[in-house]
């Protein structure tokens, strides 16, 4: 198979671009600590509100400057609909659903998770800018899907 020299050059440049992009991703994950959700345990969707930590939805301080936000989703609301966290704290979001698949996306951040029945979704984020952040269910979940939203209020540190 003869491959033209221009073609070899074109493909070589392509491979270099792909490898550079891949290296940037490795850097973001390993050096900057940007992670995806992974395996974080299971919960029976029929017994979500009886199973810790979902029996007490809301925000709690779990250590100095570290918070856990426990969120339950259902058609068509988040429980609780609004949470408050201090700026620059490490917030771990732990969430699930009691019925269909929902989404959990905080506007203007990289916090973006699918909430799948039977599974616990978890990821962390540090809000540096105080203010109100819209939380949207961004997976179709039925007739009222476009009414399903919540709020994260990031408060200035005292």
């Amino acid at each position: 198979m003869k491959v033209h020299s221009y073609e070899k050059a074109f493909l070589a440049v392509g491979i270099v671009v792909l490898l550079t992009c891949a290296a940037a991703l490795v850097y973001a994950t390993a050096a900057r600590g940007i992670h995806l959700p992974g395996v974080s345990g299971r919960v029976d969707p029929r017994r979500v509100y009886q199973t810790p930590p979902f029996d007490k939805p809301g925000v709690r301080e779990v250590g100095p400057g570290r918070y856990e936000a426990v969120i339950v989703s259902q058609t068509w609301a988040f429980v609780p609909p609004e949470i408050r966290v201090p700026a620059n704290a490490e917030v771990t979001f732990t969430a699930t659903t009691v019925d269909v698949i929902h989404g959990f996306n905080i506007e203007g951040t990289r916090l973006n998770m699918m909430l799948v029945p039977g599974q616990i979704s978890r990821n962390s984020y540090r809000f540096t800018r105080p203010g109100e952040y819209l939380v949207i269910c961004h997976e179709y979940c039925g007739l009222g899907h476009h009414t399903m939203a919540g709020k994260v209020v990031v408060e200035e540190n005292p």
Binding site: K2, L18, C21, T29, H35, M114
Partner: protein, 556 residues
């Protein structure tokens, strides 16, 4: 390249028996009808992002998500597969100069037709507003799942008709290389056959019995993972028929040649190997799947970008050959000599140009951590309306401008109207995608009835407006296509149709010695693809213990 010997395989035209031509023609008509039927809700969805709801004026299917289901199912499932069911066997028969297997062809047609009737019933009666992804535990009526399964079965039967044809040809041509056009047509559907098995397991094994009440509960993460096991490769099943046209037909249409036989086969083998073990990059933000596996699928997704890079070079080179043969000179002068007045050529060239942007945005989707910024935002439909919505759809519209005349025996009704359709559509998609892409970067959600949402962000105003404007132009483009093709079928002049399929010559003939004939051992490559899939999906299926936790919900 002048030193190489041009070869033409089977220069004599070949015509299928009339009955088979008619069957293939009707499969293509079903496909194009689905394209046209689906874009009405496409328009409604796009305008919804601009804050306008026109659903109240529709005669039926008046809820947003019912319409979105119809748009997705009609335009990415029925349109694409009906087209491929007609187009790929036609190309195979032409390349092998043999009739297809009659029984499999009929069975394919009837499965497609029955599947369509069932799906239309379920969607129109609002018993299947679950979107084309069919995520459990949202539950549809059983006719929806069964109908979609029948559509998939029709693609298997179309593949069977081609494989029977190939087996007969091989018996008569021992030691000969498979003609390129047949090779790429068959291997496109061979890849899809393998890719379609997981979704078939999901539908037949779980969702269909669950929707009929035979089992009470399913595991949503399992059926979702099975869907995406098929769901990324499916985009290549949509794309490869368009690639068949770009590689093997378009060079002839512009007066050029395909540059390399073996190179083209290698590209298709790479698609067979790499299309499927990449699906988990659609589930980066899912719980219950390990980050390591997500990273592995990310790397493999970068790998599948490679054959498309190779395609960009090869197709561009064959266009350049055509432009220069027609008198084009200088670095870029050949571009002006490509026959831009031929609507079939122009549609496909505009589809390719848009695909460059589609490919680049796709690479960002695959980019592991970056995906978290855009997952399930309008960025994603912005991306795929440039890939399946333009690279594929506009190419298939371009193919129709010679294929429908060829099969119906009538000349194209209006070249100017056809050209206008492609340009309006392309300008539309560029505006539409600019809107959706930028909105997505600001978190504008996809699959959401924005015109009546209870929340809003001021950053979505301009993106939403652009989405509405661009989507309207795309709709007008498809309506012009409808006009041209409809008028061609009923009022095109008899006898003005092309007499043969535009099969390209190849600059380098297929080698008969060395390693290259091994490319024709399709069974061997199929087995290699299975092995790669086992490596990429084995860790999930071996470690995941399914738990049927979810009853069905019909909250639409």
């Amino acid at each position: 390249m002048a030193a190489l010997t041009p070869t033409v395989l089977d220069p004599a035209g070949y015509e299928l028996p009339l009955e088979q031509r008619r069957l293939l023609r009707w499969m293509l008509y079903i496909g194009y009808a689905a394209l046209i039927a689906g874009v009405f809700h496409g328009l409604a969805n796009a305008l919804s992002y601009a804050g306008i709801s026109i659903l109240g004026w529709f005669p039926g299917l008046r809820t947003y998500y019912q319409g979105l289901t119809a748009h997705g199912v009609a335009n990415v499932l029925i349109f694409t597969f009906s087209f491929a069911n007609g187009f790929l066997p036609l190309m195979t028969a032409r390349a092998l100069s043999r009739p297809l297997d009659r029984r499999f062809l009929w069975a394919s047609f009837l499965a497609l037709l029955t599947g369509n009737v069932l799906v239309i019933y379920a969607v129109v009666s609002n018993q299947a507003s679950v979107l084309y992804t069919s995520y459990a535990p949202l539950q549809a009526h059983w006719t929806y799942y069964l109908g979609l399964v029948l559509v998939v079965v029709s693609t298997w039967l179309a593949l069977a008709s081609m494989l029977v044809d190939l087996r007969g040809w091989r018996r008569q041509h021992t030691g000969a290389r498979i003609p390129l056009l047949a090779y790429i047509s068959i291997s496109s559907y061979l890849m899809w056959f393998l890719a379609s098995l997981p979704v078939a397991v999901s539908f037949l094994g779980f969702l269909l019995p669950w929707s009929m009440g035979l089992v009470e509960r399913v595991d949503p993460l399992l059926t979702r993972t099975l869907f995406w096991f098929t769901g990324h490769a499916i985009v290549y099943a949509w794309l490869l028929p368009a690639y068949v046209s770009w590689y093997a037909l378009l060079p002839r249409q512009v007066g050029g040649s395909l540059i390399s036989d073996s190179y083209t086969r290698v590209v298709w083998i790479l698609f067979l190997l790499l299309s499927i073990p990449t699906g988990i990059h659609h589930q980066y933000t899912d719980p219950g799947i390990s980050q390591h596996l997500k990273a592995l699928h990310g790397v493999l997704t970068f790998g599948i970008f490679f054959p498309s890079l190779a395609t960009a070079f090869s197709v561009m080179a064959s266009l350049e050959i055509g432009g220069r043969r027609r008198g084009g000179t200088g670095l870029l002068g050949w571009i002006t000599r490509i026959p831009w007045g031929d609507p079939s050529v122009t549609a496909q060239l505009l589809a390719m140009l848009t695909f460059v942007l589609g490919g680049a945005t796709g690479l960002i989707n695959a980019s592991y951590t970056m995906n978290q910024v855009i997952h399930n935002t309008t960025w994603v439909p912005g991306h795929f309306h440039m890939t399946v919505g333009t690279a594929v759809a506009l190419t298939l519209m371009g193919v129709a401008y010679w294929l429908v005349p060829y099969l119906s025996g009538r000349g194209l009704y209006s070249r100017r109207l056809a050209l206008a359709s492609s340009w309006v559509y392309t300008i539309g998609i560029l505006i539409f995608a600019r809107g959706m892409i930028s909105g997505g970067l600001h978190g504008m959600p996809r699959r959401t009835f924005m015109a009546e949402a209870t929340y809003y962000s001021s950053e979505w105003r301009l993106p939403g407006l652009l989405t509405g404007v661009g989507g309207t132009l795309m709709f007008i483009g498809v309506m012009l296509f409808f006009l041209v093709i409809g008028l061609t079928i009923v009022a095109g002049r008899r006898g003005e149709q092309p007499s043969d399929i535009p099969v390209s010559e190849t600059l380098t003939a297929p080698a008969l010695t060395g390693w290259e004939p091994r490319l024709d051992r399709l069974g061997w490559w199929f087995a290699a693809a299975v092995l790669l899939i086992a490596i990429a999906y084995g860790p999930f299926f071996l470690s995941y213990a399914p738990e049927a936790v979810s009853p069905g919900f019909r909250v639409y």
